[in-house]
Symmetry: C2
């Protein structure tokens, strides 16, 4: 980078490194499953574009913060990335956001065609649950139910949030800021929170009361950084360039969508980010150094530039 | 009916009656779940149009044949109907089959709009797994994993079958009849077979070897009537009227799609139905009168006129 940026203040190190393991696991899962070749290729295209892998990394880091191992978390991490990618593919469709560019590449319906993009999204949605059932069914059968519950509830929430965002149905009595918060709590917050909770479930031992309290701490953490993620996203849509983001920017405003900077202004939105960053740290109060990666993740997500 | 029909030869009686319970349960599940009103209405429209409820009824009748109760099967029956309805909504979309009519009513994207139809299909796909996890999570937690596995594997198969059917990717070495069989084994067969297997899982007791053998019998039954269902569907597309079917007919032929009557002719297709009907009865050899509803279902599905 040619200029000093606040992002430089966060030493990422190998913080996001588990994302590479997730990508390898996604690829292996897709290659192992019998599928028509064109569908498999489309699914791999949707899954393996450049990306931060934020949800799977969060899931893995939460599992590790609870003393679990990467391997225990990998199938759940792959499943949550499938859900995220399914939502991106469908959100980009002509009947939805009608986007041509995603992560710096043509969107899937541009790369293939609309029917294939619809069906690939459908496949990834369902495949996530197949992966949970198949992967944990033999190694940790008692975790399948809780993992499926977390992921399905959050995914339904995410879809409901997309409806609230694009096909709003609020009564006139709902103030704009409350609308915006409800949209984002559902649309992005629920899945990020679920990532954290699923990581804890993968680590196991939830019959222990102290660990259940830690689950609640990590739920709060997830909820907080989920909201922070969205405020930052809205800010980036105003202040960043398409080049840096790898997707179209300024579209929220053009479309008259509710956004944090639009409602609160840029400065108040930035203060909101700082406050949420502090709250994310507080929610990790029950943890020692084992949660340091989560602290650094919160810092990184507060200052990210794409 | 003004003329004697072969269908009259099968006394349906209350064979399909559990379908009404399934509809009531679907309605209750949708009303209980917090959702934006417009999304809830769209989901109810997609779920509660007139329909045979074949998959949930099969699931329930298989559960009962194994000594289980309707109540044990009801959430799984609702879940499989959600998957079926999700697939109908997405298959009808302009980018897919572009159908205006379904079950005698406007298709969902005609009734609402395309974005809502995409999102409603997505919701029903995911909600099916939420229902399995939530409903059995407390009453029969050890059944969540096996149920999720059956339903997710079959749904992925169904989606793969839709890709094979509409975006074919077969090598030139695959003969047409084999293509057709592979398409239908995936597109309709897998979910019908899963309905039967899920019914057995709902009844429980699969640590018993004799019951596991019964599971295999009901799997074969499901596979057989799944294939039979499709041959009959293809025949009806040739011989029935849009009025009787509640959807457009003759479209397969117009589109040059592979069909059984197209490949084998009407008469050989009819003999195929008769043969499959016999095979369905054979697969129930391990069962006494408790499987009579399944025998009558096979008879009904062989001679149905819509």
């Amino acid at each position: 980078m040619s200029h000093a940026s606040p992002q430089a203040a966060v030493d990422l190190g190998d913080l996001l490194a588990p994302g590479r393991e997730v990508e390898a696991h996604l690829q292996a899962l897709l290659e192992r499953r019998p599928l028509p070749q064109n569908l498999r290729q489309a699914a791999l295209y949707a899954l393996l574009g450049p990306g931060k892998r934020m949800r799977p990394v969060l899931l893995i880091r939460c599992c590790e913060a609870m003393g679990g191992r990467l391997e225990q978390a990998l199938p759940a991490a792959a499943a949550i990335e499938m859900i995220h990618c399914f939502s991106l593919v469908h959100d980009d469709l002509p009947a939805m956001d009608d986007d041509d560019l995603r992560r710096g590449r043509p969107t899937l319906h541009r790369h293939t065609n609309e029917a294939m993009a619809i069906l690939t999204g459908d496949l990834l949605n369902t495949f996530a649950f197949e992966v949970l059932a198949e992967s944990y069914g033999t190694t940790a059968p008692d975790r399948v139910g809780p993992l499926v519950r977390e992921l399905s509830v959050a995914t339904c929430e995410m879809i409901a949030g997309q409806v609230m965002d694009t096909l709003p149905d609020f009564g006139p009595e709902t103030p704009p800021l409350e609308r915006l918060q409800r949209i984002h709590r559902s649309k992005t917050g629920a899945l990020i929170r679920a990532a954290c909770r699923m990581g804890v479930i993968c680590a196991g031992g939830l019959e222990d009361e102290a660990r259940r309290a830690q689950l609640e701490g990590l739920s709060d953490y997830g909820q907080t950084i989920g909201l922070m993620f969205q405020v930052v996203d809205d800010l980036l849509d105003v202040t960043s360039t398409a080049d840096a983001m790898g997707k179209a920017v300024g579209k929220d405003q053009d479309r008259g969508k509710l956004t944090y900077p639009g409602l609160l202004g840029v400065e108040r939105s930035r203060r909101q980010v700082a406050e949420l960053r502090g709250r994310a740290h507080e929610s990790l109060g029950r943890f020692g150094t084992e949660a340091d990666p989560l602290r650094r993740l919160a810092d990184y997500l507060a200052v990210r530039e794409r």
